[in-house]
């Protein structure tokens, strides 16, 4: 077990003007489950691979347990990785796959077998230990890949989208199992995903990356309640937050006709207002919206529509309770809950605190 510290870690790929990972500084505590999330190509996998030593660090450095990892080979870092493709050795049985690292480290056959059995018990893999990866289902392979990581009892787990090859239902159950397993083992874990639901549900903290730059590191709740910029606001939450540019008049932002009082920067000409789908109230006053699409999910419904009389206006998403079910073409009058409106700078997109 160990802490991990990224100190301005940068990775440049040849032929790219911009670094793939741009001086990421990130402190991960001992035993923490940190999720790295971002859109594809944002550098999250590269960041993870830098930690595992599979990718060089061009600038800055990474510390594991306080030790500078510059020039340390992957095998000497005591980091175990779970790959998206699982990367099991096809010629070895599940047991041999899991014992490979232990045997390489010089552990005796009997002891390695014991360790594999323990891990297999946790992962319910005992009856499958003799099978080759080709004889296992996707979910079973995924668990063997997890087992291969946990038998080593490493300092750090690196997981690179380990659930993305599973079907939706299995993904949900495995998600919970991985989170529970991590709590039980207490091993520092860095988990990469592009799925914000995984990010929100699994991690102690979530780090949002965009274009190689770390945007915000915080608990899932804080990320949702206080996004530092429009990117984080738009990335976290499903359906996405409504981001509407609004002019400012007399210390109030004008959200399509509905006034939103500003606590600060009332002098700005324009701001971007972020309103979560659930932060609207339906009532007599506010913005009239013509409904274009209704997504009913049973317990709730999401209504998409544009301001009445303004077909080029922004598309707004509104979450409705069960009892209210408008039809397409209806007009709803909605107003934002002032306390839940996020205000961002119109130019930089940064949160106006």
């Amino acid at each position: 077990m160990a802490s991990v510290y990224f100190d301005g870690a940068t990775r440049r790929h040849k032929g790219n003007a911009r670094p793939s990972v741009d001086s990421v500084t990130l402190d991960i505590e001992d035993g923490e489950f940190l999720v790295l999330v971002g859109p594809s190509g944002c550098g999250k996998s590269t960041t993870l691979r830098m930690l595992a030593g599979l990718e060089p660090v061009d600038d800055g450095t990474i510390y594991i347990d306080g030790h500078d990892q510059r020039g340390v080979r992957p095998r000497d870092r005591d980091v175990a990785m779970v790959f998206q493709s699982y990367a099991l050795y096809p010629n070895m049985s599940a047991e041999e796959n899991m014992a490979f690292a232990l045997r390489n480290a010089g552990m005796g056959k009997a002891e390695a077998h014991q360790r594999v059995l323990e891990a297999a018990k946790i992962l319910e893999l005992e009856p499958l230990l003799g099978r080759k990866p080709g004889q296992l289902s996707g979910g079973q392979r995924q668990r063997v890949a997890m087992g291969r990581a946990i038998v080593r009892q490493p300092k750090v787990f690196c997981m690179d989208e380990p659930l993305s090859n599973l079907d939706a239902k299995l993904r949900v159950s495995t998600r919970a199992q991985i989170a529970a397993l991590q709590r039980r083992l207490g091993v520092t874990t860095v988990y990469v995903t592009h799925d914000q639901v995984e990010a929100m549900t699994m991690g102690h903290r979530v780090a949002v990356l965009n274009a190689g730059v770390l945007q915000q590191v915080d608990t899932p709740e804080a990320l949702y309640d206080r996004p530092v910029n429009t990117f984080v606001a738009g990335f976290i939450g499903s359906p996405a937050i409504n981001l509407v540019e609004a002019p400012v008049r007399d210390g109030q932002a004008d959200l399509l006709g509905a006034p939103v009082p500003l606590q600060q920067r009332a002098d700005a000409e324009r701001v971007i207002l972020g309103v979560r789908p659930e932060s609207w109230t339906v009532g007599a006053q506010g913005v009239p919206v013509r409904v274009e699409l209704v997504e009913s999910l049973g317990a709730e419904a999401f209504v998409y529509g544009r301001p009445e009389g303004d077909p080029d206006g922004p598309r707004l998403t509104v979450r409705l309770e069960k009892k209210l079910r408008p039809e397409v073409g209806d007009v709803l009058t909605i107003a934002p809950v002032p306390a839940e409106v996020h205000v961002f700078d119109a130019e930089s997109g940064q949160r106006l605190a």
């Binding site: 980091v79 990367a87 990866p133 080709g134 289902s137």
Partner: protein, 299 residues
């Protein structure tokens, strides 16, 4: 966890059915007939000369030259085989072939695998240049280097020695090329996983990369064994007699024994020379099955 219940329909199965449906609708019987016709044509092309060699080897001498050709020997005789194994020192040539082929094949396979491994999975400066040089060597026909090699080897006094035959033939551009491309096709994540699991370079090769490359390695081995067994020009130039001559060289001796070529014994010796490679091929080709990488990555 209950994957099977969730997965439901096996995707392979359903796509297999789709393929069958497609084949049935596409020309159907006509395609089948054309396919068989093509197979028969190829079979005739390959098998007819072989068949001719075998029946000639068991014909009596006058029957070999009769017109029209006899398609079945009457009566069959083993005289050709007796002559082939007694007129020349057949077993001596056979032994030489066995020794030279074994040593050469082992050398070529080991060198091919090791050089391919270095050129594909180990990182060192100048790797690409070395690979280009190896490929360039592949482009030079053997016959061009024969004269200089001959001068060199005879200067060393290595004519009529095993090393004189073996060492100049032991270079392996083809094996390096073939195995390198095979190694490059091994998924990078598996190699990274092995590195993280603490596998050193030799263990990575031996436990991870090679087991995933058996089909290619076996194909390479078969090609090498057959080639070395049939190697003619260089052993012929290097050996004067049955001390180091290989079977193909022995066949030449047999052909030139009397003024006129006695085809019966030559064909018999050819059949005998063919058998060992045929056995090696049959033994190894079973292992050239695909699907060894199944289940390595993805679902």
């Amino acid at each position: 966890m209950t994957e099977s219940a969730i997965t439901g329909v096996d995707p392979d199965e359903s796509s297999g059915r789709a393929h069958q449906a497609e084949a049935a609708s596409f020309g159907g019987v006509l395609m089948k007939v054309a396919g068989y016709a093509a197979m028969v044509a190829v079979l005739l092309l390959v098998a007819a000369p072989l068949f001719w060699i075998v029946i000639t080897s068991i014909k009596e001498r006058p029957d070999i030259y009769t017109q029209p050709a006899q398609w079945w020997p009457s009566p069959p005789t083993a005289d050709g085989y007796k002559a082939a194994t007694t007129d020349i020192e057949f077993w001596s040539y056979f032994k030489n072939s066995l020794i030279i082929t074994t040593i050469l094949s082992i050398a070529k396979i080991v060198l091919g695998v090791l050089s391919a491994y270095a050129l594909s999975l180990l990182r060192f400066p100048g790797r690409t240049i070395i690979f280009v040089i190896v490929i360039a060597a592949l482009m030079v026909p053997n016959q061009i280097t024969v004269i200089s090699n001959y001068a060199l080897v005879s200067q060393l006094g290595w004519r009529n020695t095993y090393q004189g035959i073996i060492i100049p033939l032991a270079g392996v551009a083809f094996g390096t090329f073939l195995m390198r491309n095979q190694f490059l096709s091994v998924p990078g994540e598996i190699i990274e996983a092995a590195r993280l699991d603490g596998a050193g370079p030799m263990k990575l090769l031996w436990r991870v990369v090679l087991p995933m490359s058996w089909p290619t390695l076996i194909a390479f081995s078969i090609i090498t064994v057959v080639n070395e067994w049939n190697e003619y020009l260089w052993p012929f130039l290097m050996s004067d007699d049955a001390r180091t001559g290989t079977l193909p060289v022995g066949l030449t001796q047999l052909q030139n024994n009397d003024g006129i070529t006695n085809w019966g014994p030559v064909m018999a010796a050819t059949v005998l020379a063919m058998l060992p490679v045929l056995i090696v091929f049959l033994a190894l080709q079973r292992h050239m099955i695909k699907g060894l990488t199944a289940g390595a990555v993805k679902g």
